[in-house]
C-alpha cells in the first residue's frame, strides 16, 4: 500500500548508519520479515526514484494523539552511501515521507525442528533483526555477523537482547574474530549435527559464499538480495537476477522486487 508517513526519530547508531522510525497504517503489521519498503525521499524530482530498504522493525506504541490511542510504526536501518540516503540522514521528527510497503516476498520460517542460523553483514542485518524477533518465539537462533570493521557490525546488543546467540567476525579484527564471518559459520556447521536452515542478507560475495557452504553442507538456505530498482513492483524489469535455469536460449530472469528479495539459494544462478 502507498501511504504518507511522519518521521518519529532518526538516530545515528554507528558512524554513517542510521535507524529511522516512522508512522505507518496498522495493516503494515502483516508484513513478513524480509519484505521491503520503497521510500520517496523528496517530493521534488531529485532524487527521482524511490529508494528500497528492508524492514528492520515494526510495532505499535500507545499515544494520546491518535483516535485509537495507538500508533503503528516501521523502522529502517540504513547506511549513507549517496544522495538519497544522505538526504534521509538529514531528516527530523515530523518530516514527511511517501512510502510504499510492504513489498516483495519475505523469509519462509522453514520446518519446526530446525535450528535457525542467520548470517549478515552491514545493513544486511536489518531484515534479519525482524526475522530473529519472530523466530526466537519458537526456535533456537544463532547469528553470524560480519563487517569490515567494528562500526559496520550493527545492533548486536539488540539481537542479544532477543536471546540470539551471536558470533562476530571483522576484516580488521576490531570486533570478534579476524576474517570472514562465513568461515566462522562454516566451522560451526561442520561441528554440529542438528538440522538447520540458513537465512542470509549482505553483500553479494558473502551471499555467494553462504550459498556455496549451504550446498556443500546440504543445508537449506534463503538469501535476501539487493538490486537497482525503479518501481519495486515488477513493472520496469530493472532489478532482475539470473535464475538457476538461465541460459541465452532459455532466459530465466527473476525480479528481485517481486519474486524476491528473498530467494531459496538453489533457485539462483551464482555465476
Amino acid at each position: 500500500m502507498q501511504f504518507q508517513s511522519q518521521v518519529l526519530s532518526n538516530i545515528e547508531v554507528s558512524p554513517g548508519y542510521y535507524r529511522m522510525r516512522m508512522t505507518a497504517p496498522p495493516a503494515v503489521l502483516e508484513a513478513a520479515a524480509g519484505q521491503f519498503v520503497m521510500v520517496k525521499v523528496s517530493r521534488a524530482i531529485d532524487p527521482l526514484l524511490r529508494r528500497p530498504f528492508g524492514i528492520y522493525d515494526m510495532g505499535v506504541f500507545v499515544t494520546p494523539y491518535t483516535d485509537s490511542g495507538t500508533q503503528t510504526f516501521l523502522e529502517i536501518l540504513y547506511k549513507v552511501v549517496g544522495h538519497g540516503t544522505g538526504m534521509l540522514a538529514d531528516m527530523h521528527q515530523g518530516d514527511s515521507l511517501d512510502i510504499i510497503a510492504p513489498l516483495g516476498k519475505g523469509f519462509d520460517h522453514g520446518a519446526e525442528d530446525e535450528e535457525k542460523i542467520l548470517v549478515g553483514g552491514g545493513v544486511g542485518l536489518a531484515p534479519l533483526y525482524l526475522l530473529a524477533k519472530e523466530l526466537v518465539k519458537t526456535h533456537r537462533v544463532r547469528l553470524f555477523a560480519g563487517g569490515r570493521s567494528k562500526e559496520d557490525v550493527l545492533c548486536i546488543t539488540e539481537f542479544e537482547r532477543l536471546g540470539v546467540e551471536t558470533y562476530v567476525a571483522t576484516d580488521d579484527g576490531t570486533l570478534g574474530d579476524r576474517g570472514l564471518v562465513t568461515q566462522v559459520m562454516l566451522k560451526y556447521l561442520a561441528a554440529s549435527r542438528t538440522p538447520k536452515r540458513l537465512f542470509a542478507c549482505g553483500p553479494f560475495p558473502m551471499l555467494r559464499a553462504v550459498a556455496g557452504i549451504a550446498e556443500e553442507m546440504q543445508v537449506e538456505c534463503q538469501v535476501s538480495l539487493e538490486a537497482y530498482m525503479a518501481c519495486g513492483m515488477g513493472a520496469c524489469l530493472g532489478c532482475v537476477v539470473k535464475g538457476v535455469n538461465h541460459s541465452a536460449e532459455t532466459p530465466d530472469y527473476r525480479c528481485v522486487c517481486k519474486d524476491g528479495p528473498v530467494f531459496e539459494s538453489t533457485d539462483l544462478s551464482w555465476e
Binding site: K40, A230, C231, M233, C236
Partner: protein
C-alpha cells in the same frame, strides 16, 4: 458546474480521457491494480511484445541520472503467446482499451506479430515501436531511417486491421521526415517520444554504469525535447499525436496538449507514484473546470505563438 468532456479518440480508439500509460513502465497493467483504478485512465499500453520471449540485457539495467533515469532493459518480455495466455485474461476484465506495443528484430517479425494481434478481440489497437535494430541488416535501427520505418509500417498496416499507432524515436536529425514517412505508409496516429540514447560513467571503476553501456533516457529531463518534437510534428502531419516524455503532473500533460497532442502517455512517473496516471487525469479535469474549458479537444494545439 458541469463536468468537462475529457474523452478523446485516437485512430478510432475511444478513450474516456487522454491519459494513457507508456509501454514498459506499467507492466501488463495488473501490477498497478492495487494502487489505482485502472478504469480511471484512457488506455493501457503493454510492455513491448515480440514474437518469441526475450531475455533482455545483463544488469545493471537502470540508473538514475539528474532529473531522469537511463534504462537498458533490452526489451525483456514474455512473448506474444505467453501474453495471450497469462496476461490478457486479466486485462479482459478491465473496462479500459488495451493497446499492444510491439517490436520485431526483422521486418518479417513485425508482420507476423501484427497478424497474430489481429485475431485478439480484446486488443483495441497496436503501437509499433520502431526504435529497434534490424538484426538481419547489420543492426540499423528501423526508426532512424525513413525508408526502413515506412517498410515496417506498411507491412504492419497490411497485416492487421487494428488501429495503428507508430511510436517515433527521438534519436534522429529530422523527426518531421520520420513522421511523414510513417503517416504516408499508413500510420493512423503517432506517439512521441521514445527514450533518448544516453550513458552514465562511474569514474572510480572507469566503467559505464549500465551493462549495456548505453541506455534510454526518460523522465523530466527529456520533457523539453519531447515538447519541441510534438510541436514540430503537429504542424507537419494531420494524424492525431500522443505526447510522451517526462510527464509527472497534469500541468506537464496539458503542455503537451497545447503543443498539439490529442493524448499523452505517462511513463517514468508510474515508478515514483503508482497512482500517477489516475492523478494526472483527475488533475487535468480539475484544471479544465477551473478555467471553464468545456472540452479537452479545445486545447489541442491551442498554443499561441
Amino acid at each position: 458546474m458541469t463536468k468537462p468532456n475529457m474523452s478523446v479518440e485516437i485512430a478510432g480508439i475511444k478513450m474516456r480521457n487522454p491519459v494513457m500509460t507508456a509501454s514498459g513502465t506499467f507492466g501488463y497493467g495488473r501490477e498497478f491494480a492495487d494502487y489505482m483504478d485502472l478504469e480511471s485512465i484512457g488506455a493501457i499500453i503493454t510492455k513491448g511484445l515480440s514474437l518469441r520471449p526475450k531475455a533482455g540485457n545483463n544488469t545493471p539495467r537502470i540508473v538514475e541520472t539528474p532529473g531522469g533515469m537511463l534504462n537498458a532493459i533490452g526489451l525483456q518480455n514474455v512473448g506474444i503467446d505467453a501474453f495471450i495466455t497469462t496476461k490478457l485474461p486479466f486485462l479482459r476484465t478491465v473496462d479500459t482499451p488495451v493497446i499492444v506495443n510491439l517490436y520485431g528484430n526483422s521486418l518479417e517479425e513485425y508482420g507476423e506479430l501484427a497478424a497474430r494481434i489481429d485475431d485478439l478481440a480484446e486488443v483495441s489497437g497496436v503501437e509499433v515501436n520502431i526504435s529497434c535494430p534490424n538484426v538481419k541488416q547489420g543492426g540499423i535501427v528501423f526508426g532512424t531511417d525513413p525508408a526502413a520505418a515506412a517498410q515496417v509500417v506498411g507491412l504492419v498496416r497490411k497485416s492487421t486491421s487494428k488501429p495503428l499507432i507508430v511510436k517515433l524515436s527521438p534519436n534522429v536529425t529530422d523527426v518531421v521526415a520520420m513522421a511523414r514517412a510513417c503517416v504516408d505508409a499508413g500510420a493512423e496516429a503517432l506517439s512521441l517520444i521514445n527514450t533518448l540514447t544516453g550513458m552514465a560513467i562511474d569514474i572510480n571503476s572507469r566503467r559505464p554504469v549500465l551493462a549495456n553501456i548505453t541506455g534510454g533516457l526518460s523522465g523530466p529531463a527529456i520533457k523539453p525535447v519531447a515538447l519541441r518534437m510534438v510541436w514540430q510534428v503537429s504542424r507537419a502531419v494531420k494524424v492525431p499525436l500522443i505526447g510522451i516524455g517526462g510527464i509527472m503532473s497534469a500541468t506537464d500533460a496539458l503542455e503537451f496538449i497545447l503543443a498539439g497532442a490529442t493524448a499523452v502517455q505517462v511513463g517514468t512517473a508510474n515508478f515514483l507514484n503508482p497512482a500517477a496516471a489516475e492523478e494526472i487525469a483527475a488533475g487535468m479535469e480539475s484544471w479544465l473546470v477551473e478555467k471553464g474549458v468545456k472540452e479537452i479537444g479545445e486545447l489541442v494545439g491551442a498554443l499561441k505563438c
